[in-house]
Symmetry: C2
Subunit: 274 residues, 2 copies
Amino acid sequence: MDKQALYEHIIAKRSYLCVGLDSDITLIPDFLRSGKDPVFEFNRQIIDATADFCVAYKPNIAFYEAMGGKGWETLQKTLEYIPKSHFTIADAKRGDIGNTSGLYARAFFDKSASGLDFDAVTVAPYMGYDSVSPFLRYRDKWTILLALTSNPGSADFQRLETSTGKIYETVLKTSQEWEGAERLMYVVGATQAADLAEIRRIIPEHFLLVPGVGAQGGSLEEVSRHGMNRSVGLLVNSSRGIIYAGNGSDFAEQAKAEAKKIQEEMALYLDKFL
Amino acid sequence: MDKQALYEHIIAKRSYLCVGLDSDITLIPDFLRSGKDPVFEFNRQIIDATADFCVAYKPNIAFYEAMGGKGWETLQKTLEYIPKSHFTIADAKRGDIGNTSGLYARAFFDKSASGLDFDAVTVAPYMGYDSVSPFLRYRDKWTILLALTSNPGSADFQRLETSTGKIYETVLKTSQEWEGAERLMYVVGATQAADLAEIRRIIPEHFLLVPGVGAQGGSLEEVSRHGMNRSVGLLVNSSRGIIYAGNGSDFAEQAKAEAKKIQEEMALYLDKFL
């Protein structure tokens, strides 16, 4: 999916919501657990309930790996169930030496090899250019690089000052020079909205994947005010706030209500800030 | 496996070799490909041929993920085949917000959840303390933190100077303060041997996982001279140099010869530097 298609879907749906399918077998409603594939059934109902209000889905791969090989099948079924109109992100935060990063890219981008065919994958920048470039070689795929993450530990290393700015600023600036940089997006936590204006000065045109609205407490209004650009440029993620909005037989209805609420707020911000 | 057991195995075998099972379905000998599980058969023969000369095995998870759910089964069969005497490392370079890192830890440490039960997992430090602590909570497991990696891109961010030293030095110093730090090991590339003496000043007692001897060109002699401590403190990895030493029906014999050669060199360094 190219940038134009993503933008048009956002405008048509008046939403830049990404639903995070962080579906933990130990946390989904009890009554699903007797089924053959409880997590897939959970995801299926969540997707049916929320697809009208969001433009993207983001399964966090950890939740599927934690179930072993069976989890990988659940992930594949989930990905195949997501409507083709929706942008799909493998939230994997992968990265290794070049040779090996090529295998990670194969795992998430090459259906003939792994059964998976995501639009995008999140990648950790610690190992530098040659750990990221194998993902960028896929010319019809997106590589979402961690920049300033939403969690408390982001302060440990990402905020350290160097001669070229803070570490996360250096990640933003340096990666702009890489071949295929037009296929990059960046993760900036919603909890970091105060830094968004400055981040936008460094990367005015790139899309941002913004987790942390919902359970982690970030403000959607601040994120939208400071982060939106002329192509919208935002995919704001909510996982637990939506998928665990309810815990009974009406969990999907409750997820729908939460997603709808966020979409309605986003529609206001599209009017206000775009 | 605790530090004492690892040390005793190294001394008994006169080897600190770790064999990296980076088994790529497209690179293993052709004649294996007609079998039911070619990568497992490859690994089985490599393990049989090399177990006498090494103390650890390190499958890089990317190579198994790239085969989808089936790859996860191959990984599990491989792990179960490795002798209980050998230290097992899931080279996964994982890391995410706390909640999610807990799922990654579950994936590699909790056999009842995922079918896998590794001794150790490699973890990326970019997201800081709360992304690493869920792994450290497993009191009988090891967390191997990336510090100074073997690849060219290590220079992009790891070598940036801050007021507390280079980024990788700050990772080493900061992580020493974390709860469970005694369960940490660190990845330092063999190509970075010139920095090993300084690294040992910061972390004299911790084990180092050292990739990059072999295909990536690091010097085993330099690594051993500068990196060995009184508990040996080194697990030196070779993947492609051993597992692809041969490409015909005698590939296992060729792998054995290469592993034996490295072990014999290591025996000399144990005499010289321990």
